[in-house]
């Protein structure tokens, strides 16, 4: 009798393990699919000509995506410049200043921000931000600036929730110790709380960057999608993700493979960012 009971447990364990690893399988499939489709072009044209090539004319045999790599990094850092201070202040306010009731209202509201579809962000960008930039600063309005603002708002939930968790996990006793020595609230925050939560806060920035660099829909709508390296924040640009989404519908042959190569580069960048972020988070958890 006892034996059958153990067997049932064992079966449950096997099933759960299988399901758990199936997500890993999906990751593996996506990975191999993109590599399988994109790598041949790297072998054919050459890594250097793709990554450092300036000209993207896939139907004429030029597959340079350097301007897009640079553009992707520009919008990502632009998003960080806008999102990081906003997000960190919000996390600090939530954890240190807001009362229980305010927290109960603000946290769900911020989580809702993460649930808004990206096309809606893009829509808002086209209707409001682009015209405001066009009318006040000149240019077409579809620009690095507009994209950074939209992405900056979109990465807020990521930055806020992860840095909030990091700040909340700083022991209450650290704060008390600091207060007891006559520190003001603000002195305690910037001398004790934020430094103690540093690795988690950095991880939140990096995950936010990962989200910004991978965002597609909203970016296409406000970036202008011009194929060049932007020289001012009012210039239009095209990101790696935008390139794939814009052209995949009609691309064939080498052109199609070129888009997958863009995907490979994107994948590598995001993996590196995630690896760095995980490293930061893990160190904090182990401590």
């Amino acid at each position: 009798m006892i034996k059958t009971k153990i067997d049932k447990e064992f079966i449950v364990k096997i099933i759960l393990t299988t399901f758990a690893f199936s997500s890993l399988l999906f990751l593996f499939l996506i990975f191999s699919f993109i590599l399988f489709e994109g790598l041949p072009l790297f072998l054919k044209v050459g890594l250097k000509k793709i990554i450092f090539g300036f000209k993207w004319a896939p139907t004429k045999g030029s597959f340079g995506i350097f301007p897009m790599i640079i553009s992707s990094f520009f919008v990502t850092f632009g998003a960080l410049i806008i999102g990081a201070p906003l997000g960190l202040s919000c996390a600090i306010y939530l954890s240190e200043y807001s009362g229980k009731k305010m927290k109960m209202f603000l946290k769900p509201a911020l989580e809702l921000l993460a649930g808004i579809p990206s096309v809606v962000y893009g829509f808002l960008g086209v209707i409001y931000i682009v015209p405001i930039i066009r009318n006040n600063f000149g240019g077409a309005g579809f620009s690095l600036l507009a994209t950074s603002i939209i992405l900056g708002v979109m990465i807020l939930p990521t930055i806020i929730s992860i840095s909030f968790d990091a700040i909340m996990s700083v022991p209450k006793t650290y704060r008390e110790g600091s207060f007891a020595m006559g520190a003001t609230k603000w002195q305690t925050i910037y001398k004790v709380v934020v430094p103690s939560a540093r690795s988690g806060i950095l991880a939140s920035f990096i995950l936010g960057m990962g989200r910004a660099i991978g965002e597609t829909m909203a970016v296409i709508m406000v970036a202008g999608n011009a194929l060049k390296i932007p020289t001012s924040i009012l210039d239009p640009l095209r990101t790696l993700t935008g390139n794939i989404a814009l052209e995949l519908a009609y691309a064939t042959g080498d052109h199609r493979m070129g888009l997958f190569s863009t995907g490979v580069v994107l994948l590598v960048i995001i993996m590196i960012l995630n690896y760095i972020a995980n490293f930061g988070i893990k160190r904090r958890v182990i401590k």
């Binding site: 110790g177 007891a180 006559g182 520190a183 002195q187 001398k191």
Partner: protein, 251 residues
């Protein structure tokens, strides 16, 4: 004898819960005053009113008066931050900041705006000496404070509060997590320190109170049951509850 802290009919409510029910007590200068009583007796709450750490709790209401050197710190025009720069506090669990030994002690003085290197060095050395920690720490000032033993950490916390040059030191069950040897070192330090400071020691350990305090107060359920010279309280307690508590019948 000088009165350092004078409490008049102090009532403290958490939400609607009356945790202190009208306590009046005089704490004398340059003496160790022991606050004892079972958990929930209100002794720690009273301490947190002295340094206004109680302000960080939510839904607190305070009635009554606390005078320190004649200044009303509850209703008067004084803010918690400047008050805490004149009162040192040591908690039950030693809580060094995740920094070096030196930086932990220099933290308070630096907040006050002291940046002069020699002045800070002197403060750190003096504070460590007074907390009986200098000999152990003099070669390890740059070590992380988190690597010290529990007893050393607690003496570090004591040193840290001394660096503020306070007049009052509040200790909230400072030895509850320490072994007898570490406890003895803290007690030795306190016996020296009372020459300079007014010390309030909160403890569950009646033997410790009997050993080192000059005056003893017994709290129970938010009320001050008995207060007087330690010798008198422990040999001829005037209240039945005090006698039961110090003889170990409850607590």
């Amino acid at each position: 004898m000088d009165i350092k802290i004078q409490v008049e009919n102090l009532k403290i409510f958490f939400d609607k819960n009356e945790v202190l029910k009208g306590v009046s007590i005089d704490v004398y200068r340059n003496r160790i005053t022991g606050f004892m009583g079972p958990a929930g007796s209100g002794k720690s709450t009273l301490i947190s009113a002295f340094n206004r750490m109680i302000d960080f709790e939510e839904d607190v209401k305070i009635e009554g008066k606390i005078y320190i050197d004649g200044v009303d710190i509850i209703n008067g025009d004084i803010d918690g931050v400047s008050l805490r720069r004149q009162i040192g506090t040591v908690f039950a669990v030693p809580i060094p900041l995740p920094r070096s030994v030196f930086d932990n002690i220099a933290y308070g003085p630096r907040l006050k705006g002291i940046t002069d290197k020699t002045e800070l060095n002197e403060l750190v050395r003096d504070s460590l000496k007074k907390a009986f920690l200098w000999d152990e720490m003099k070669d390890r000032l740059s070590m992380s404070a988190l690597k010290l033993s529990g007893g050393q950490q607690q003496r570090l916390c004591l040193a840290r509060s001394l660096a503020l040059k306070p007049e009052i030191i509040l200790l909230d069950e400072p030895c509850s997590g320490l072994d007898p040897i570490s406890t003895a070192k803290i007690e030795d330090a306190l016996n020296e320190l009372k020459k300079e400071f007014t010390i309030i020691l909160v403890s569950n350990n009646t033997k410790q109170i009997a050993r080192i305090s000059d005056y003893s107060a017994f709290f129970y359920m938010g009320e001050l049951i008995e207060y007087g010279p330690t010798e008198r309280v422990f040999t001829f307690p005037s209240q039945k509850q005090t006698e039961d508590y110090i003889s170990g019948k409850f607590g």
